[in-house]
Subunit: 378 residues, 2 copies
Amino acid sequence: MLNESAVIEKIWKVLPTRARRKGSDWLRLGVGDDAAVIRASSQRFGDGGDWVLSTDAFLEGVHFLPGVHSPVDIGYKALARATSDLVAMGATPRFFLLSLALPADRTGTWLDGFLKGMALAAREFGMAVVGGDTSRFCSVVINVTVGGRASRGNVMVGRSSPPQGRASHILTRSGSTPGDLIYASGTLGAAQLGLELILHGLDGKASTPRLPRGRQWRPILQPHLRPKIHIVLGRWLAGLNPSSRKVASAAIDTSDGLSKDLSHICEASGVGARLWAEKIPAVRIPQALQRGNAKLDPLDFALHGGEDYQLLFTVPPQAARRLPRRFHGIPLTQIGEILRLPARKSQRASRIELVTAGERVVPLKLKGWNSFAARSSK
Amino acid sequence: MLNESAVIEKIWKVLPTRARRKGSDWLRLGVGDDAAVIRASSQRFGDGGDWVLSTDAFLEGVHFLPGVHSPVDIGYKALARATSDLVAMGATPRFFLLSLALPADRTGTWLDGFLKGMALAAREFGMAVVGGDTSRFCSVVINVTVGGRASRGNVMVGRSSPPQGRASHILTRSGSTPGDLIYASGTLGAAQLGLELILHGLDGKASTPRLPRGRQWRPILQPHLRPKIHIVLGRWLAGLNPSSRKVASAAIDTSDGLSKDLSHICEASGVGARLWAEKIPAVRIPQALQRGNAKLDPLDFALHGGEDYQLLFTVPPQAARRLPRRFHGIPLTQIGEILRLPARKSQRASRIELVTAGERVVPLKLKGWNSFAARSSK
C-alpha cells in the first residue's frame, strides 16, 4: 500500500512525461507543478494549429468490471477511448492529464499493470502525460483529459470554416449536407460481440461476467478489450494529406453505436440519412457462438453495438473518388447517404431510414449502447 | 430521474458555455461536438500567452460528505479548487471541462443545486464550460479540468525563463533562491477550522459530521465551504501589472497546508526555508469553540490545515518593496525567508525551520492535510 506521493512518483516514472523529439516544442512545463503549460503556437504547427481538448471518465463497475478486465487492458483502453474523440476531430494527439482514484489495495500490482497498459497506449499514440491528480477512493475511478493539435490545410469543405487567416482544419459533426456519402472504417459491432462473450459466456446463458478461457477467443475479445483507434486516418480525412484538403465533411467516432452516432451527425448537421443494411461491415459471428446464442444478429450488433471507436464520416460526392477502399490496411466502406430532412415535421421523428436486405425501407430505431450501468438500470 | 442526454442538456443550459465578450476569440468550438477547439493564439493574447492546464477530482465521501455539504457549495468548490491551481501559476482562468458521474436519484434537485453553485463560480471566475462527460455511478464523482491563459510581461525573475522571444509569464514552484522572502495571502488555517466544526461539532466531541445550526457559524464555515481564490493577485504577481514585471519568484496555492506546500516549493527550488511563527496570519479561534475544544491551536491549524487556497509565494528582496500590505483588500504577510540548503546531507531531512514565539529554532514537521479518506486511513 503506497501513500499519495509514492503513487504519484510511480505514475511519473512509468508513463512518458516528455514530448516526442519531433515537434516537441509545444510542451513548456509538464508534470510536477501546479499545472501544465502548453505553448500556444509552436514552430512546427504555426499559428493555425489550434488545440483540441476532451475529457472522459472510465469507472469500475460501469465501464469495466473488477475481476474480469485486467489492469493492463483497463489502462490501455482508458487512454484509447478518450483519445478517440480527438481522432474524430482529425487532431494529432499530444498530451493527457490523468486523474486516478484508487482503493489502497490497488496501489501495488494492480497499479503497475494499469500504468503498463496506459504507457503502451501513450507510446503508440505519441502522447505524454502532462498533469494529474490522485485520491484514495472505495473503487477505481479514472478520468482522462486529452489534448491534441488540429491539422492544418488549405481548403475547407462543409460548414465549419474558421475565420479568414486561420488555416486550422477540424472535423465536426455539423458539416454534412444532403448528397454526401456516409462511410465507416473497419468492422462494426465487434466490440459489442466481445462484451457479449464476457457478459453471457459461450452459450449465451452464463450469468456471471468473466473472460472465456482459451486463446481462440482473444481475437473476438480484442476489439472490446483493446480497441484500435485510427489517428492517421482521422488526420488524413481532416486535411493532413498531400493535397492539404479536407476529405470528410463531418465525422464522429462510433462510441455509442452506429445508429446513435449517425443520429448525432444528423442532428448537428440538420439532415437525414439512409443506410443500406447489406453494405454495413458487420462483425462476423463464429458458428461456435451461434449454436448456443441462437439470436446473435450481426446487423443488430453493427447498428447498435457501442465502443467500436471506428470513424463514421460523410464525404461530398466529388471528394469520394479520393477515398481508397483501404487506408493503411483499414477498410473504408460506403454504407449510406445523407438526405434532406423531410419537409413535414411529423415525419422527422426518425431522421434515419434503413434499406433492408429485402429492399424494404424502414425507420431506424436508436438503441445506442451507453454503459453497463445504464444498461442494467433501464 | 433523467437519462444521459437530459442531464447533458441541463448542464449546458445552466453553466455558461460561451466566452466573455472581452477577449473571447480564443474559443473556436465549445460543447456539443466530440471535443472542444481552443485557438492556439488569439489577437488578445498574441503569441506569448501560453495555455495552462490542470485536472482535479472531487469525490463524495473523500472531499465532501453526503448529507453535510449542500450541492450548491459542492458545485462552487469543485470549480474553485481546480481553478486555484491556475491562479497559483499566475494564469487567467478561461475554460473548464466537467466530468460528472451521478446516481440516478441525484439528477433532480441535487443536480440543479450543484450546477447553480458551479455556474456561480464560473461567472465569478470568468470561465466557460467547453466540454464534459456524464456517467451513471453509485456515488457522486466529479472531475474538473481547467484551462487558463498565461500572463504576459517583459522581464522574468527566477529560473523559469522561457526561450527568447516568448514573453509568457508563469509562476512555478521552482524559482525561489536563498534570500527571497516568503509571503502568504489572507488567513491560514481558516478552512481547517470550518472542517473541524463540521467533523467534531461545537464541543469537539460530536462523532457524526454535520453542519452546525445557526447563522453565527457561517463565517467560520465559509472558508471551508466556499473558498475564495485570488485570481487578480496571481496575475499581478506573475506580471500582469503596470510594470509588466514578475513580482514573485515562485508560487503555490495552499491546498495541502502551509508546511507541506512550502516544502513543495523548497524541493522544486532546491532550497530550505525559515518560518517565523509569530508572523503567520493564523485563523482566530472564537472563545465559544475553545471552551469545548481545549486543544485547538491556531498555529497548528495555520501550519498544517489544508484547503485554504491562499497564495504562498516568494519574492526577491529588491521586488519586496513593490508589495502592498493589502492587495485589493487581501492581506499579504511576510512569514519567513528562503535559506540555502544545509551543506551536510544529514541535516537536510527537514528543509524548513520554525522560529517559535520563544525564539527557539525547531525543525518543522510536515503534517499536511490530504483528504477525509487519507486522514481516516492513516
